[in-house]
Symmetry: C2
Subunit: 212 residues, 2 copies
DNA sequence: TAGGCAGCAGAACATATGTGCCGACCAGGG
DNA sequence: CCCTGGTCGGCACATATGTTCTGCTGCCTA
């Protein structure tokens, strides 16, 4: 068996992508047959077997339309709906999610890939309000993805509430003896030092998204 | 018919989400029956009809597993694979995509939702290298999504090549008489004025993504 | 030239799966 | 009490759909 993907297999792969992209459910073998003008279902089956061997797709036997498209050996990314819990601003603590996030309880969502959430659940999103986060290179209107947590490792990008300053900020956090160093994203800016008691980690920042 | 979504329908909706999230293809009526411990296929069918009337799903009749999940009245977002054509840096022109983007010709991809590409095709991505884009609040390592274009409307965020300065930059562009004003994202920074001949619009910036 | 193998055609076959029909149950209204 | 509409159970039926078998056609090689 050639390791190469034959013309026909390439065509089937392309058809799979288009079909799924259009309908949101995979095609049947006979759909593929028609779509690629293949003369027999057995040919489709044959080539699907080859594609499966080569790792381009995964099939569940005996189950109709059970073709999963893999890309680059990996599972295709899936979209997840992340609830937008509210706004994040310098002068306000972060609105925290309730114990159990139920997708139904929120009106607003952003749709991101599960690569961006790292597959974690209970991720939530906040819309940045104002220009107070520019030192983290985050602008008014940006969306940040957060994972609720109280603890974090050194160097993690976290959202912290500074009790004395009454302020929310996004910084990299490093423990240094009894103190913590809060390092702005923008390398040109000076780090901020404070003591452990003054900081309250609200969440780990996973990603930031800006749309124009 | 009650406009309300009954307990059972809620349960089916939830099951649909989980099933599709797990398998990448929709469940059959009998899958739903088992998954939701429903006593008969006709009950599933009945409730699917109700859900379709209410706009939560769309079904293709006679076709097995042809259930599309809608969310908030809209189609669920799909992931698209955007090729990463290269790096973007201040001192280099932007690597432009060839005439016809074929998904197979690139090694590296980022997966984003089609909401982020605005459904446009021939979108491509670049990885930002260096800190020269901080005035656009874009950092080393960020990913920017671009759509190839030579022309743009006033106020569009664009990637431009400044011929005299030999430099690539991301700015909002405004035509002002015979000149153009390039406005940095960061409101605190001064705009840059130059003449029309000096700028070469390479693409419209659609989105920026940062992952920690 | 015979044999082996990848790929293809065609058709029969076995299930997987959507649909229709009939009756039961229940709550509300006349 | 009966009627009606919404919901459910059970089941048979038609067809949508994956699988398999047999044979054919090139092509390569011992």
């Amino acid at each position: 068996m050639s390791e190469r993907v034959s013309e026909k297999q390439q065509q089937i792969l392309q058809f799979l992508r288009e079909f799924i992209g259009e309908k949101d459910y995979p095609p049947s073998i006979r759909d593929i047959q028609e779509g690629c003008r293949i003369s027999s279902t057995s040919v489709v089956d044959y080539n699907l077997k080859r594609l499966e061997e080569k790792g381009f797709i995964r099939r569940d036997r005996e189950v109709s339309r059970a073709i999963e498209l893999l890309e680059g050996g990996e599972r295709r990314a899936r979209t997840v709906r992340v609830p937008v819990l509210g706004k994040i601003a310098a002068g306000r603590p972060i609105p925290m999610p309730p114990e159990h996030l139920t997708p139904e309880s929120y009106d607003e969502f952003v749709e991101v890939t599960d690569r961006q959430t790292g597959g974690r659940d209970n991720v939530f999103a906040l819309r940045v309000e104002g220009n107070s986060m520019v030192d983290a290179l985050i602008n008014d209107g940006d969306i940040v993805l957060l994972q609720p947590t109280q603890s974090c490792d050194d160097g993690d990008m976290v959202a912290v509430w500074l009790k004395r300053e009454n302020e929310t900020t996004l910084k990299r956090l490093y423990h240094e003896g009894g103190r913590v160093r809060l390092q702005p994203m923008n390398a040109a800016m000076q780090p901020f030092y404070t003591d452990l008691d003054n900081v309250e980690v609200q969440g780990r920042v996973l990603a930031a998204i800006r749309n124009w």
